[in-house]
């Protein structure tokens, strides 16, 4: 945009615009460093020697380069890769399942068919008022019996929220030309065919945005695993659950000095290993994020009302 050559009332206007711009750059730079620095610590610590960490503490830059932490983790590679496998599987299957069910549900819901208004009203009600964590737990663990199965990681998060369904519905209503659907119907296409051949391809923007938010939610999920998967079924642990478990063990021992003495240093992952593990947990997201942040931001503003 070219600035028009207008003389404003006084020079003040131009000048304070410059000042604001400088302030904006300074503030946002500080906030960006503030946001990124912690990730730097994770990485630096993972390639620092244990002795250096003991002496100087964690830092933003590595001290006394050492790959001990990574070598240690390599020994546990089987567990880590398995957890990665679980995470990737759950994220992929969960996201696809979630987007398909939600979009199909949303397409059904915009039809002019009896009874849908009641379902809609109930959906809005559950947005405002819900059963809470305890009763959800008893429904899923008690009645649905998903404990210690892979469904525990897939199902409780399947519908992001009633609100995402409403978002998809309003996208169908506003962004897909009505004439197109009518024409298809005149040509004798059934509703399911219309959904597959017209609705799905044309609503890719919204489905991709919601799918992205879902994928991140699945990748990051640790609560469902914590509620529904017992320690003895740790083969079903995702990477976040594994991290959670490690953290709790360390903290449990840290609070009970006798335990620490009894079990010895060996079971407690050392300081550098800890950070290497956390780094493994965030790395894929960090690498991918710059490429999808635009869509993520879009998803947040859509869901902004959702909070």
């Amino acid at each position: 945009m070219k600035r028009k050559n207008v003389t404003y009332g006084s020079g003040i206007v131009e000048r304070d615009e410059q000042i604001v711009k400088v302030v904006a750059y300074i503030v946002l730079s500080i906030l960006s460093i503030f946001a990124l620095a912690p990730f730097m610590i994770l990485f630096s610590a993972s390639i620092s020697s244990e002795a250096a960490i003991a002496k100087y503490g964690y830092g933003f830059l590595p001290k006394e380069f050492s790959l001990d932490a990574w070598k240690y983790l390599w020994q546990a590679a089987k567990i880590i890769f398995r957890a990665y496998g679980v995470t990737i599987m759950v994220t992929a299957v969960g996201t696809v399942l979630s987007v398909l069910t939600m979009s199909m549900f949303a397409y059904g819901m915009i039809q002019k068919v009896r009874g849908l208004k009641v379902i809609m009203a109930m959906m809005v009600l559950t947005m405002l008022f819900n059963g809470g964590m305890v009763s959800s737990y008893y429904v899923w663990a008690g009645w649905m019996d998903i404990k210690n199965s892979i469904f525990a990681l897939l199902f409780p998060n399947l519908f992001a929220s009633a609100f995402s369904v409403i978002l998809i519905m309003s996208y169908y209503r506003t962004s897909i030309p009505h004439e197109l659907l009518e024409a298809a119907r005149i040509d004798g296409a059934g509703e399911f065919e219309i959904y597959v051949k017209i609705i799905l391809p044309l609503s890719l923007p919204i489905l991709a945005t919601i799918g992205l938010l879902q994928a991140i939610a699945y990748w990051n999920d640790w609560t469902n695993g914590m509620y529904y998967i017992d320690v003895r079924h740790s083969e079903m642990y995702s990477i976040q659950l594994l991290l959670n478990q490690m953290n709790q063990q360390i903290e449990f021992m840290a609070n009970n000095p006798e335990f620490a003495a009894e079990l010895g240093q060996l079971t407690i992952p050392q300081e550098s290993v800890r950070m290497a593990m956390a780094f493994i947990g965030v790395l894929p997201l960090m690498i991918a994020f710059p490429f999808f942040q635009k869509y993520f931001a879009k998803g947040l503003t859509l869901g902004g009302v959702k909070g």
């Binding site: 906030l31 503490g57 902004g304």
Partner: protein
């Protein structure tokens, strides 16, 4: 002839209904299990839960003692602390989550270069996509007794033992993680402002501050109110990850880090879970949030009809 056409279209209607219902079926089943059945689970709050019968088969309390579980909430020694923590943190977060993201969004908007904007936004949003488990590790990297960055810097070694620091620590980490999201939401609300309004104001000699106060902020009002009402719905709920992962469940910190959600969770996984009590806490949280949303919306509607949420 006409009659035949009618049956045909009725037939078509019927077929269409069946297909529609088949399409929503998977979603509907899921919705019933995940959202509707837990509504029935609220009855746990009114049951005398016994393990023999299973929680959902336990008998309801007789009518005159129906609220026994709720009364029990307020008989817990720790309830005062739980309510104080939950409410105070939420009040602080609600205020900061409006003031700081709005300020940052306005500054962000003052930047013209798209490239800089993209870099800043990517950096500031990154903490938002990280799980609370990882944030727990990051917290440890800063605060751990032996090797924490801050511990070494300030020579303080009792972060995980001394509650005094934690209101501040929790607030900082909350902002660190959530600032980006708030910023993006308010930036998107700023996009809608007509640029010619600013041009006109500039011609009249309005300073940046005057333009911000008289054009930008009024424009953001609706979004601010929406976010405010929605956060009221969660006033009794806390961000479980923040309060559970960061303090690492350290028993020394309970006084300032335990909220209702953390208490419910710890009680459920503990040795002697009290399901009726926990369900009562959940129901209490939902009811208070629901009432507050309706109330806030009502008040806002009285004051300024357009800004109300519904």
């Amino acid at each position: 002839m006409q009659r035949k056409a009618k049956t045909l279209s009725q037939n078509g209607m019927w077929k269409r209904s069946v297909i529609t219902y088949l399409m929503i079926l998977p979603g509907l089943i899921y919705f019933i299990i995940n959202n509707i059945l837990p509504m029935y689970g609220i009855t746990l709050a009114f049951r005398n839960v016994s393990y023999k019968l299973g929680p959902l088969n336990s008998p309801l309390y007789p009518l005159e003692d129906l609220f026994v579980n709720f009364e029990m909430i307020f008989k817990q020694d720790i309830i005062g602390i739980l309510l104080r923590n939950t409410l105070l943190y939420n009040v602080v977060f609600i205020v900061l989550d409006i003031v700081i993201p709005v300020a940052v969004a306005i500054l962000f908007n003052a930047i013209e270069s798209e490239r800089s904007k993209k870099i800043f936004q990517t950096a500031i949003l990154l903490p938002n996509i990280i799980s609370w488990v990882i944030v727990g590790y990051i917290g440890y990297a800063f605060l751990s007794e032996k090797s924490g960055v801050i511990s070494h810097l300030l020579g303080v070694t009792d972060f995980y033992h001394n509650p005094i620091y934690w209101p501040f620590i929790l607030t900082v980490f909350h902002l660190w993680k959530c600032l980006g999201m708030g910023m993006v939401i308010y930036v998107s609300a700023l996009v809608g402002i007509d640029a010619s309004m600013y041009e006109a104001a500039k011609l009249d000699g309005a300073t940046w501050w005057q333009r911000t106060v008289h054009i930008t902020l009024p424009h953001l009002k609706k979004m601010i109110i929406t976010m405010f009402i929605l956060s009221l719905a969660r006033i009794m709920t806390s961000d479980f990850g923040l309060f559970y992962q960061l303090p690492m469940n350290s028993s020394y910190l309970k006084d300032v880090t335990q909220t209702l959600d953390v208490y419910v969770f710890n009680n459920l996984v503990g040795n002697d879970p009290n399901i009726g009590l926990n369900a009562a806490v959940s129901a209490f949280q939902s009811v208070v949030g629901f009432i507050l949303v309706i109330l806030a919306n009502f008040v806002i509607k009285k004051v300024d009809d357009e800004s109300a949420l519904f």
